[in-house]
């Protein structure tokens, strides 16, 4: 048994330790390593690290979203004495203590994507979620000329960033005279399959609904499931009585937009977040000042400009 373990460990270490050098180690801790959004942030971070030359992007977090595991991993990264930490915070209360511990150990900490306001973090890089919500609302108004009612799908009631998006949609859509239906928003607990079911529920419960808005990309992360929903309501979609708008611009979503299954997408810029995370940590390491809140922009995509994003 010992030999088996030894062999397995040795194999993994050889596989893992390719870039062993005197580079600055900046750890990027996502909420979950099985989430496609963070894959793109990782790509941006790795690319920027290569461009900078003297830094390395260490991408490491819980495989599945679970707050206690994230805290334990951050502790380990402190033990390992990385040169900087960028965290997409799973739970503010749970992370505040470990962020303090990192700062006390002399490690610079910033947050990205999901912030921990009130913690000892030095900067936050992410989307202005209210703006993203407003953009979703504006795209709704633009793509659906029949002013009427809409329903929304969100991830969970506790997610402050998603609640800001909901408010943004309400603000922009409300200004144009749109009304949110009862039972909206539904919360899918970040489960794509559940999100599709809830879209079906919303359109079943409200046969005269004019728009559905997903403030995260969940239903479109499962293209077949989403197409199923579309087919269930094909006559409503094709006659223009119903449109769908969604957040995020992942490849699977862009394909659905291209195919006409969704009217517009508003995307965050995770790649840019990854790049800016490296820049900010390097600046902090070099004792330069970094703005406390750095917003990455949003992309508005419709059938007209989807080609640029599919490249």
């Amino acid at each position: 048994m010992k030999r088996v373990i030894l062999a397995a460990l040795a194999a993994m270490v050889v596989a893992a330790q390719t870039g062993f050098a005197e580079k600055l180690q900046f750890a990027v801790v996502p909420k979950a390593m099985n989430n496609p959004f963070f894959d793109i942030a990782r790509d941006g971070c790795v690319r920027r690290a290569e461009e900078l030359g003297n830094v390395e992007c260490v991408y490491r977090g819980p495989i599945e979203h679970e707050p206690a595991t994230q805290v334990q991993i951050i502790q380990d990264l402190i033990t390992q004495r990385v040169d900087g930490l960028a965290i997409s915070v799973s739970d503010v209360g749970a992370a505040t203590g470990v962020i303090k511990a990192a700062r006390e150990a002399g490690i610079h900490v910033i947050t990205f994507d999901a912030d921990a306001p009130g913690s000892a973090r030095e900067a936050y890089i992410g989307t202005n979620n209210k703006d993203l919500g407003r953009a979703l609302g504006e795209m709704l108004v633009k793509t659906q000329p029949r002013v009427g009612t809409y329903g929304m799908v969100s991830g969970g009631p506790a997610a402050a960033n998603l609640n800001e998006r909901l408010d943004g949609v309400r603000e922009a859509a409300g200004k144009a005279g749109w009304k949110e239906v009862s039972g909206s928003p539904t919360y899918c607990n970040d489960d794509p399959a559940l999100a599709v079911q809830q879209l079906n529920d919303l359109t079943t419960a409200h046969p005269d609904l004019n728009a559905v808005v997903a403030v995260g990309g969940w239903p479109l992360f499962v293209p077949e499931g989403y197409r199923n929903f579309f087919d269930n309501n094909a006559d409503r979609f094709k006659s223009g009585r119903l449109v769908a708008i969604s957040a995020d611009t992942l490849p699977s979503e862009l394909q659905l937009l291209k195919g006409g299954y969704v009217a517009a997408l508003v995307g965050q810029r995770p790649f840019e977040m990854g790049e800016k995370v490296m820049d900010a940590l390097l600046a902090l390491h070099d004792r330069k000042t970094v703005q406390e809140i750095i917003y990455t922009g949003v992309d508005r995509v419709t059938k007209g400009n989807v080609g640029e994003f599919l490249k």
Binding site: M1, K2, V4, I5, L6, A8, L9, M12, V13, A15, A16, Q17, M33, V58, R60, G61, I63, E64, H65, E66, P67, A68, V71, Q72, I73, Q75, D76, L77, T79, Q80, R81, S90, D91, V92, G93, A94, T96, G97, G156, P157, A158, Y187
Partner: protein, 321 residues
Amino acid sequence: MPRTQTAYVGIAFAALVVIIWILAPVFLTPRNLFNVSKNFSFIALMSLGETLVIISGGIDLSVGSVCALSAVVTMMLMRFFSATAAAHVPGVTIAFAALLALALAALIGLINGFLIARIRLSPFVTTLGMLSVARGMTYVLTQGRAQYPIGPDVALFTRLANGAVLGLPTQLVYLLLVAVLMAMALRHLVWGRHLYAIGGNAQAAALTGVRVPRVVLSVYLLSGLAAGFAGVLIAGWLGAAPANLATGYELRVIAAAVIGGANLAGGLGGATGAVLGAALIEVIRNGFVLIGANTYWEEVFIGVIIIIAVLIDQIRTRRDF
């Protein structure tokens, strides 16, 4: 050749520690060992309860959810009692909150035990249902929002749940106390002998006068209680109880028990094994980060260890068919 599964796990554990230490010398620093021993205590506590259930020939899938429910209930009750007269006496709000949360966890265990021991429902299905019920209750009570400790006893709670005694993290101290109690109960109480007898052959045990339902009921109650205790401690450690806390922990808990020598067929297992099994899993997790090995391999590695553990158990106890 070592005779017991626990001895094998002990050897594997020692080997792993040495390997990780060679590859990442920072592993053996006091600070890291302090963190590691804290981290594995939660899973190990739940594993102790789970091991009792597994010895009886059953399984408890509800432990992760019960842990989360107990954590959020502790926080919510702390807030509730802070607005009552209890807030004037130091230590009372946290004592009430924690005891009631433990009582709730024990009650859930009791319901599991009643359904399994008296009504004769399958342990797998019953506790699978309870996994959903307890997690659902957690979301209902919190409306999905994380709960935070509030009131006069927050500092005391942190000291009790996340402090140090003689240089050891309090979580580890609680774990060791519970483990010693459990080992003694299994060895010296009639209850312990009856439990092994039930796991070996429930019908034979019943024929020799063992009150099977009563013993089986007790192990589910204790498993719920252990999960609840882990929940209280984890909430104190994190300073927060997110509603999705401990999601999926049941699998880690069962893995720890099985690696430690608990046999899902019943009749085998013990406290030392459960603690070692949980420690092994945590050391692998911690080691992966410290060494800088690819995280995605971690679950593969733990899975292989589980299979090797049952393989050794099988070879060791192989009888002629």
